[in-house]
């Protein structure tokens, strides 16, 4: 790949991350987290996208991001309160920004009118200059040169002084006593020496904006230092030759001023001092010159060029020279050099923002790995597990005693193998957040289309699950959220009439429960309209007109193929594919779906999914002459039935009484065609299982061989799906064993889903 193209790909990948962060941040602000860290994260996301887009000449993206950034900047500076209205606009702006990024990546076109509307809306919020900018392109003029030609020493470099700085103001003698005056009116005069490096422009930052930012903080007096400007002939087109000295009178503190330079600190010489004395000095050269010089001398390490801690008062009252302390400090000062991503770990630096920043950097220590490599590793570990099991079995067969060194070594090998397997699986595990975070946008769009008001609440985003599960979760979840809003929630007027808040709540939550992940989508709408569901099912011939169904059974009718309750086919849902598709895709993942609904209070859809598609804890049983694996999660208990407890019910069907209740009894060997005769109750073992939706059944098998973790192998890879079988695995003796698909077995027996054929073929098979 052309290297530029590769960089661009990386940029787009990062954009996706930034966009996710942006949306998340905005939602957090909407939820009341208006602390500066969150606002900064949002700002940073938009800023990074803008910067990168500038470097690649993605004009549309830059223009939009710029307006967005400006508005965010106002929020960051506290000039705009993050009110609900503003956040709604910003969330929509984030959607447009995402579309623009995707359009830039995939070459699509974004509705220009939509961008324009949002640009205007954002402009309206940020006020003054931006409204003008957004409309007539003034902003672009002001802006374009900086991103596309990182330096331009032409008029624009001088612009800020011309536009922003106040005309010369004679320095009155009283100003020399600024520190004292400052105490009087809360304003301090700072002298800021700012000399950008060429890299600052290369990173798509712009001095003019920084100076303007200072201008917003108070009264400024800016002096340009062009002393290093070479003759035109010697000038590097991408060099940086200008420096500024800004005299700023403001009530804002040092941190606020430093904040303006937050993004460029590494790319400039910056020195901020209080006028009239060196009482408070903050320069990127280091926290405490005297100590640092000593530190340098002692540690012969370069000075840290990172975050400077807030002023240290020691200068005011000279501390006695404690050499030991200085050596400690020297060592401390060395660390930032070794690990430049961390802020100076001196105690003085421990103010919250810096600490957070350091944490944030620490958590992002990740690498990008090609998924194929991970999958290959997982396959190999799977082989290793099987091999280890085979080896163990051979050793057992060879009759070596428990005490022999071989057996002990083998035990250790087993532990290690298990640990390797867990660790490798953990590589593929991802928080469900990556799917969840796509949903707020969907909810907004569906809400806008249906004219409903929706708040999407997400919980448990940190729950981790295998990547394959996550990938295949996106479509069903999308569908369910759409359904919840489109069918579940009522219109605002109806809601209010029903005594509820006009805004509907859709809750999306994830939690780990007994080795599975349980995802719930619930709404506080009207609940399932059971009479209507039943009517439709009868109308469509899905059930007999005189069928007597429990509420639960009626609710479950919506999962039948071809069932769609929307009386009018809407844009959003009701394209003929419905919950049956959702159900099938969840089942394909080895998951279950169920619904609970309360009239007037809403419905809850519960998905229960395996954490990984690679391994499974199973009970190894024999049925007929075959060895089968039953997923352990489905088994509630095992029991030894007595002949008297099994009763025939109709032709060929049996029930077993368990503690007074009757549960259908399925002879596995018979159902799968492995044997012609049912196991005699007293000679076999019954497994009481719970299928999807809580349906119980007892599986009759010949014997239980034991429990083990098995590696799931697909049957479809080389063959096709087989009734009653979920997948295959390889046991310790190297033979293939089949993993039972409990739900299919139960459904096949019940005759609800795939009625006659299953039973008939089962008899033949």
């Amino acid at each position: 790949m052309d290297p530029m193209e590769a960089i661009k790909q990386t940029f787009f990948q990062e954009c996706e991350e930034q966009l996710a962060e942006l949306e998340q941040g905005l939602l957090a602000i909407e939820g009341g987290e208006t602390d500066s860290e969150t606002v900064n994260a949002v700002f940073r996301a938009v800023h990074s996208i803008k910067g990168g887009a500038g470097a690649f000449g993605l004009e549309d993206l830059v223009r939009f991001a710029h307006v967005f950034e400006t508005t965010l900047d106002h929020v960051r500076a506290g000039r705009l309160a993050p009110e609900a209205d503003l956040l709604k606009v910003m969330l929509r702006a984030a959607d447009v920004l995402a579309d623009l990024v995707r359009a830039a990546r995939d070459g699509g076109v974004v509705d220009e009118a939509r961008c324009e509307v949002l640009r205007a809306e954002l402009g309206a919020f940020s006020g003054e200059d931006e409204t003008g900018d957004g409309d007539d392109g003034m902003g672009e003029l002001d802006f374009q040169p900086l991103s596309f030609e990182p330096i331009s020493f032409e008029p624009m470099a001088f612009e800020p002084t011309a536009i922003e700085a106040d005309p010369f103001e004679p320095i009155g003698s009283e100003l020399a006593f600024a520190p004292e005056l400052a105490a009087a009116d809360g304003r301090t005069t700072w002298i800021i020496h700012f000399r950008p490096h060429a890299s600052l422009y290369a990173h798509a930052n712009e001095s003019a904006l920084l100076l303007r930012e200072l201008g917003r903080m108070g009264e400024v007096e800016t002096t340009l230092d062009d002393s290093t400007l070479p003759p035109l002939a010697d000038m590097e087109p991408e060099g940086a030759y200008l420096a500024w000295t800004v005299r700023l009178t403001t009530e804002r503190d040092l941190d606020a001023i430093r904040g303006a330079f937050e993004w460029v600190e590494d790319d400039c010489d910056l020195k901020i001092e209080r006028e009239g004395g060196a009482a408070e000095v903050a320069s990127v050269q280091g926290p405490d010159p005297i100590e640092l010089i000593l530190a340098k001398a002692l540690a012969s390490a370069p000075a840290p060029t990172m975050e400077a801690p807030p002023p240290i008062p020691q200068i005011a009252e000279p501390a006695p020279l404690d050499v030991a302390a200085l050596i400690r400090k020297a060592q401390a000062a060395e660390e930032p050099v070794l690990a430049p991503a961390n802020a100076v770990p001196a105690p003085a630096a421990a103010h919250p923002a810096t600490a957070n920043a350091a944490n944030a950097t620490a958590t992002t220590a990740t690498i990008r790995v090609d998924l194929d490599r991970v999958d290959r590793l997982i396959d190999l570990v799977g082989e290793l597990v099987i091999n280890q099991a085979m080896l163990a079995q051979r050793v057992t067969e060879s009759g070596l005693g428990r005490s022999s060194g071989v057996v002990t070594g083998l035990d250790e090998l087993e532990h290690l193998t298990r640990e390797i397997q867990d660790s490798v699986m953990a590589i593929r595990a991802q928080p469900v957040k990556s799917v969840f975070q796509r949903m707020p946008r969907l909810a907004r769009e569906v809400a806008a289309m249906t004219g409903k008001s929706v708040r999407l609440v997400t919980e448990g985003e940190g729950c981790e699950v295998d990547k394959t599960v996550i990938e295949r979760l996106s479509d069903p979840l999308t569908h369910m959220i759409r359904n919840a809003i489109d069918h579940g929630l009522e219109r605002p007027d109806k809601r209010i009439a029903a005594g509820k808040s006009g805004e509907g709540v859709v809750r999306l939550s994830a939690a780990h429960r007994s080795g599975r992940i349980v995802i719930e989508v619930s709404d506080d709408g009207a609940g399932i309209n059971r009479p209507r569901v039943k009517d439709i099912a009868i109308e469509k011939g899905l059930i007999a007109p005189d069928a007597v169904l429990s509420d639960e059974e009626i609710d479950n009718l919506i999962f039948l193929p071809g069932f769609s309750t929307a009386s009018e086919v809407s844009d959003i849902s009701g394209r003929g594919v419905g919950m049956d598709v959702v159900k099938r895709s969840i089942q394909a993942l080895g998951g279950r779906i169920s619904v609970a609904s309360r009239p007037g209070l809403g419905s809850t859809f519960t998905l229960s999914l395996p954490l990984t598609l690679a391994v499974l804890d199973g009970m190894v049983v024999s049925a007929g002459s075959q060895t089968l694996v039953v997923p352990l999660t489905a088994i509630i208990e095992t029991l030894q039935p007595k002949a008297a407890e099994v009763h025939p019910i109709g032709e060929g069907a049996h029930v077993i009484s368990i503690r007074g209740g009757y549960v259908p009894l399925i002879d596995v060997g018979l159902a799968l065609g492995y044997s012609d005769e049912a196991v005699e109750p007293a000679k076999g073992v019954a497994l009481l299982i719970e299928g999807e939706g809580g349906a119980r059944a007892a599986l009759m098998v010949g014997a239980i061989q034991g429990q083990r973790q098995v590696v799931i192998k697909s049957l479809e890879a080389n063959y096709r799906q087989v009734f009653g079988i979920a997948a295959a695995t390889i046991l310790g003796d190297g033979r293939v064993a089949l993993i039972l698909d409990i739900d299919a077995l139960v459904a096949g027996q019940k005759g609800l889903e795939s009625p006659a054929p299953v039973l008939r073929t089962a008899a033949i098979g």
Partner: protein
């Protein structure tokens, strides 16, 4: 190996026996040849699908080729052979009595199948090859596996 010199002119086929008859498949489709191991039976499968075996960690379906071609169900012994063939992206094991030879043939040596042949033969036999007085049927592998599930049962 009759005429190794002709290799780059024609195609190489692997020939095998089923009872007294000889058949062959394109050698490019054959991945390996291995001895018979007991297969795990699959429920609800056609009689010619013997089940699945473990091929170095992959689950490999075994097709009883004689049965697929309309003969009776095989009674595999240790002397039987599994030809592991690739069909599209899938791998499948073909149970045959024995592998006999590698042939090199040119396209003009392959004769069409006469119309009188039974349906089961016509479905899988692509052509006939006469060689040293023997008749060898060329098997096309495309339809060896049962059709994709007609309906999601």
């Amino acid at each position: 190996m009759n005429d190794a010199a002709h290799t780059h002119h024609g195609r190489e086929l692997i020939s095998f026996r089923i009872g007294a008859q000889e058949f062959c498949v394109d050698i490019m489709a054959v991945r390996e040849i291995r001895g018979w191991t007991a297969a795990t039976a699959l429920p609800q499968s056609p009689s010619y699908v013997r089940g699945v075996i473990n091929l170095r960690g992959a689950v490999l379906p075994i097709v009883d080729l004689p049965n697929r071609l309309g003969y009776g169900v095989s009674e595999p012994t240790a002397r039987h052979v599994i030809i592991v063939a690739q069909i599209g992206t899938q791998f499948v094991g073909l149970l045959v009595d024995a592998v006999s030879d590698i042939l090199t043939v040119t396209d003009d040596m392959i004769q069409p199948v006469p119309d009188i042949a039974p349906e089961a033969v016509k479905a899988f036999v692509q052509g006939l090859i006469a060689m040293d007085g023997r008749m060898i049927s060329l098997i096309g592998l495309g339809r060896i596996l049962p059709d994709v599930v007609q309906e999601a049962a």
